[in-house]
């Protein structure tokens, strides 16, 4: 690969690495790419990535004190919050970062949707993205049980029961998730293992695939469709490094500040310890499951209530193959935009209804 390398003085650090690793070619390929001037990502994807990084760091710290058994879990979480130095902060940042991660993930998805960045040639990037959405929600669901308080316990009973309602595979899935017929220590061990080992590795790998795809395709230009067959995009561009990255880092610093403020003002709480004999009044799931919760309350056929969200996710995943309109400007795709806005309105409506019911 020939590129216009900046001249470097012999004996520089850059030279030292270059002569051993050919690292200029690597850096050129990874960093010295250009993005269309019109591309507006609002940095949502990168912010989601940053929050995942925060989760890995704070989660690893929490795991040093957390004990995944029904007898000890609740007390170990109390111990982290009240005895360990900065324990409340680490736990609250983990809590808030999880919530913000879902939020910015949704913003990212909406940005990609409204800019039509899921269209040719980025269909697979979108499909992989839906995989990331699923993995992130599984993070939320498995992590929720770990404090072993009443909210945690009953959200898990209902959540796993929902999985158990899926036709044909439900019964097996329920036992597989719970590690038995009921939510017990077997469930806690499973959820712990999935939450701290399986999901981080899986999400890390799938994010890597996602980013390789984005890198290969370059950022979408929301003002015009990609040329077919592929050609070097025309139009004005700016360097990814340092211009784009610098703005991205500013967004990350903003997030960091937000995390500290939220954690200080609204630290993560803990309810009474789990009691398998008593469901507390008004148990509700996390806000991002409230829509499904409200749906299950009103659809009289259990199976329909359970399958509706799943069918929705599958439809979302294959969206690039349903929506064959090549246009990217909102005015030229009124149906997609209208359906998108309608879907958002329904989801927000259900969520608010679930919150106040």
């Amino acid at each position: 690969m020939t590129t216009d390398n900046p001249p470097t003085s012999p004996g520089s650090v850059d030279d030292w690495f270059e002569s051993r690793l050919h690292w200029r070619a690597l850096m050129d390929a990874l960093l010295h790419v250009r993005v269309p001037l019109e591309a507006k990502t609002f940095f949502f994807g990168g912010m989601t990535l940053f929050l995942f990084g925060v989760q890995v760091v704070t989660g690893t710290l929490l795991a040093l004190y957390y004990k995944p058994t029904p007898e000890a879990a609740y007390d170990s979480v109390l111990f982290i919050t009240s005895d360990v130095s900065f324990g409340w902060l680490i736990r609250s940042v983990h809590h808030w970062s999880a919530n913000l991660m879902i939020l910015f993930l949704v913003f990212h998805l909406l940005r990609v949707f409204f800019q039509a960045a899921y269209k040719y040639p980025r269909e697979l990037t979108w499909v992989v993205g839906i995989g990331l959405l699923g993995l992130t929600m599984m993070f939320g669901f498995t992590g929720y049980l770990l404090p072993w308080d009443q909210r945690a316990y009953w959200a898990t009973v209902v959540g796993t029961e929902i999985a158990g309602g899926i036709p044909f595979i439900g019964d097996a899935l329920l036992v597989l998730l719970r590690g038995g017929a009921d939510v017990t220590e077997a469930t806690l061990s499973r959820f712990f293992g999935i939450h701290v080992l399986v999901l981080p590795l899986a999400l890390g790998a799938v994010v890597a695939i996602h980013l390789v795809f984005v890198h290969q395709q370059g950022l979408a230009n929301p003002t015009k469709p990609d040329p077919r067959p592929p050609a070097v995009p025309q139009g004005r561009t700016k360097p990814f490094f340092p211009h784009y990255i610098l703005e991205e880092v500013i967004a990350w610093l903003f997030l960091l500040a937000m995390l500290v403020v939220l954690s200080s003002l609204f630290p993560a709480g803990l309810e009474e310890e789990a009691n398998p004999l008593e469901t507390p009044a008004h148990v509700k799931p996390e806000w991002y499951f409230l829509g499904v919760y409200e749906l299950l309350k009103h659809i009289p056929w259990k199976v329909v209530g359970i399958l509706t969200p799943m069918v929705f996710i599958v439809l979302l995943a294959v969206l690039p193959f349903i929506d064959r309109n090549p246009e990217v400007r909102p005015r030229k795709r009124p149906l997609a935009i209208a359906l998108g806005i309608l879907t958002i309105a329904v989801l927000i409506g259900l969520t608010i209804w679930g919150y106040y019911s």
């Binding site: 009953w154 009973v157 209902v158 029961e161 929902i162 309602g165 036992v175 597989l176 590690g179 038995g180 017929a181 009921d182 077997a186 398998p276 004999l277 008593e278 469901t279 507390p280 009044a281 008004h282 148990v283 919760y293 299950l296 309350k297 009103h298 659809i299 009289p300 056929w301 259990k302 209530g305």
Partner: protein, 154 residues
């Protein structure tokens, strides 16, 4: 590029290439099976002999559940709700048939209530009064000897 001989052994009926492909396919599939089978087996929890203490289980005394009241008690590993109505003592499984929450007695409205999605049940029959549960609460047999309440678990 040199011309290939017309009688290419790779394209005739039972060739070395097809044999090798079949063997390779067999190795790949058997290797995958060898890896996946124990993982799947490991994930399926072993059957624990359910500690269902068949027979009569003492769950409390009549004084615990005055008329117009109800209470959830453990019977083995299955929670049971005992309600004291005009028709006397009734017992039902306390596990909501909707999504598995534990029902409670609602003294205000005199019904059995599920706090999760507001399912309501008739306290004498266990039938659904309102809400999403697909079926009523299964009845359990309850007996009183002296002032002690027993649930006869199956």
């Amino acid at each position: 590029m040199s011309q290939q001989p017309t009688a290419d052994p790779g394209t005739s009926g039972f060739s070395r290439r097809r044999l090798l492909a079949a063997l390779a396919g067999f190795s790949i599939i058997s290797t995958l099976t060898m890896i996946v089978a124990p993982i799947l087996g490991f994930l399926i929890p072993p059957k624990t002999s359910g500690a269902a203490a068949g027979g009569k289980v003492l769950v409390g005394t009549v004084a615990d559940i005055p008329p117009g009241q109800g209470k959830v008690v453990p019977v083995g590993s299955s929670p049971t709700i005992i309600v004291n109505t005009d028709q006397g003592l009734n017992a039902f499984s306390a596990i909501c048939p909707h999504l598995g929450c534990i029902v409670t007695w609602d003294p205000g409205s005199n019904v059995i209530l599920c706090p999760c999605h507001d399912g309501r049940f008739n306290p004498t029959t266990g039938a659904v009064l309102s809400g999403p549960p697909p079926s009523g609460l299964p009845a359990e047999e309850v007996t009183v000897e002296d002032d002690q309440i027993f649930v006869v678990s199956s």
